[in-house]
């Protein structure tokens, strides 16, 4: 396998070097560095959005989620993604309309302007920081664990993590957002190819789709229906997950930035449809891998399952491709998230542009260091942590939507309510307060209360008399 890892690794590294050099331009402006010049076409747009969305979480997490919780995992992710692309179409139009004629400096900067209150931007930045950095950390950790399984005793897990962070920092420093978008495109193609090769091999093990479910049903019948063997996928859990995923284009800055940097409305709307098709194509093989795991490795730990299904049971070349595909998936997603955090920080800073850029780059370095520390100390299930990340940033959804959609002068009440919602959600994660009230999940309750508050805040606000006043 080592031979194949070198072959595919060198090809991938070569493509990365080529992409970063192609993106590097001496004396480029900060706009070119941070926003890729706002000129991304359809193919790159689809692949970069897909690569940022479908990461280690999809590659490893979803097969494991199907293996443990059964077919309801499709509703958890695929139905939610199908609905999300519709929201992407609607919200993409609204946000592009809003930022037309102004320089887009991240959601934090935009929302500060909408509310004419910097606290709105800081609140959003805080939620992104709290929920994206641990998610980045656990993605890095996922790759490190996988590499450790593939090459035992070559490097400690933290050594792999450190290597990934260093590559990420060097790459984004040389090429900026454009290079990250190119690496996303490479990863998007690689992910689709690898997941189908492995998925097909897993389906082949059963001899067909009908036989696959027949076999899995004989092993554990609860896997064929909701809520699954562990009782996790209840209608309420799935509905709260839907809302959290619907809010991804609104509240996760790496996605919002990608919507804005698309070349035109036309490419943006085609990107939304293509992304929906891409989502279906990527999630289907994860069902096959998950069912394969349920049949053969039902009682194994996640790590053991990954090692068996992705490495040991595959041809050496496929296993090597899986390793490179996983590195690519983790690298591009973590890169996208860390860089987006840098963009958000930039939107909140004031002063001379060169000073802002210097501080932004220092910020990216600090975020990467914190993510690296998280990758060493935090252990959790990939999919469930991703869901917490979506829900945590999703709490900001009503505040952002109100700011962007409203044509009225909005009161700052919604900012305070969002901050309160964030604090309550954090307390429930810390076990300080319960996560169920009146039989309803806390995250669902927060979405409902904040959503109603946003509508109430809009209806009670006055029509604007003067045009927008810039805050920064």
């Amino acid at each position: 396998m080592i031979f194949w890892v070198w072959v595919f690794g060198l090809i991938y590294a070569g493509l990365l070097v080529f992409a970063s050099l192609k993106s590097y331009k001496k004396g480029r402006s900060s706009e070119e560095f941070m926003m890729a010049g706002g000129n991304i076409g359809l193919s790159l747009g689809v692949l970069t959005f897909a690569a940022a969305l479908f990461s280690t979480f999809t590659f490893l997490g979803m097969p494991d989620f199907f293996r443990i919780n059964g077919i309801g995992a499709w509703i958890f992710l695929a139905v939610s993604d199908g609905a999300m692309v519709f929201v992407l179409l609607w919200f993409g139009y609204e946000i592009r309309k809003k930022v037309r004629g102004m320089e887009f400096r991240g959601v934090s900067g935009l929302i500060s302007r909408c509310y004419e209150n910097k606290l709105a931007g800081y609140t959003f930045f805080l939620s992104a920081f709290l929920f994206l950095i641990p998610y980045v950390g656990i993605q890095i950790q996922g790759i490190a664990i996988f590499m450790d399984a593939a090459f035992p005793e070559s490097l400690p897990a933290w050594g792999w993590s450190l290597g990934i962070v260093l590559i990420m920092l060097t790459y984004s420093e040389i090429g900026g957002l454009k290079a990250i978008i190119f690496s996303d495109a490479i990863q998007g193609v690689l992910l689709l190819a690898v997941i189908w090769i492995i998925g097909w091999a897993c389906l082949d093990h059963f001899g067909g789709i009908g036989q696959m479910f027949e076999k899995v049903g004989s092993v554990k019948e609860e896997l064929l229906s909701t809520p699954g063997p562990k009782g996790l996928l209840t209608p309420q859990f799935l509905l709260a997950s839907l809302i959290a995923i619907l809010m991804i284009p609104v509240t996760q800055p790496q996605f919002t930035t990608r919507i804005v940097v698309m070349k035109s409305m036309k490419t943006m709307k085609l990107m939304a449809v293509s992304l929906g098709a891409f989502a279906i194509l990527v999630i289907i093989p994860t069902v096959f891998i998950g069912m394969y795991g349920a049949d053969l490795y039902g009682e194994y730990s996640s790590q053991e399952f990954f090692a068996m299904a992705f490495l040991n049971d595959q041809h050496e070349a496929v296993a090597a491709l899986a390793i490179i595909g996983l590195i690519a998936a983790g690298l591009s997603t973590t890169n996208a998230m860390i860089f987006a955090m840098g963009s958000e920080l930039r939107g909140l800073l004031t002063g001379a542009e060169n000073v802002i850029m210097k501080r932004t780059k220092i910020g990216i370095f600090i975020f990467s260091t914190i993510a690296f520390i998280f990758s060493i100390i935090v252990f959790d299930q990939l999919v469930l942590l991703a869901r917490v990340s979506f829900a945590g940033t999703g709490i900001m959804g009503p505040m952002i939507l109100l700011g962007i959609l409203s044509d009225r002068k909005i009161s700052p009440v919604m900012i305070y309510l969002s901050l309160g919602g964030l604090a309550i959600f954090l307390m429930s994660l810390g076990g300080i307060i319960p996560n169920m009230y009146f039989g309803i999940r806390l995250d669902l309750l927060l979405f409902i209360v904040l959503g109603i508050s946003a509508v109430g805040s809009y209806l009670s606000s006055e029509k604007r008399i003067v045009t927008d006043t810039k805050v920064n």
Binding site: G72, A78, G82, A83, S225, T226, P227, V273
Partner: protein, 75 residues
Amino acid sequence: MEKKKLYWKICCYAAVFLCIITYTPLIIPQGVSKPMLGGIPYSLWTSFIITVLLVVITFIGTRVHPGMQNEEDDI
């Protein structure tokens, strides 16, 4: 333009309707895997159809969205 607005509204209602029925016993009856379609469990094949329909509605949405045609393309 008025027609486009109407079609766009229909798309929005259809998307919301599909999302709502997904979380009812119509699509996810608890602990039930039958009737199967080609050996695929009930909740999986029905929710697969819903996913495809949502993407199709998004596609129709790109054609009928009332704002997009009149908007200047470049930001």
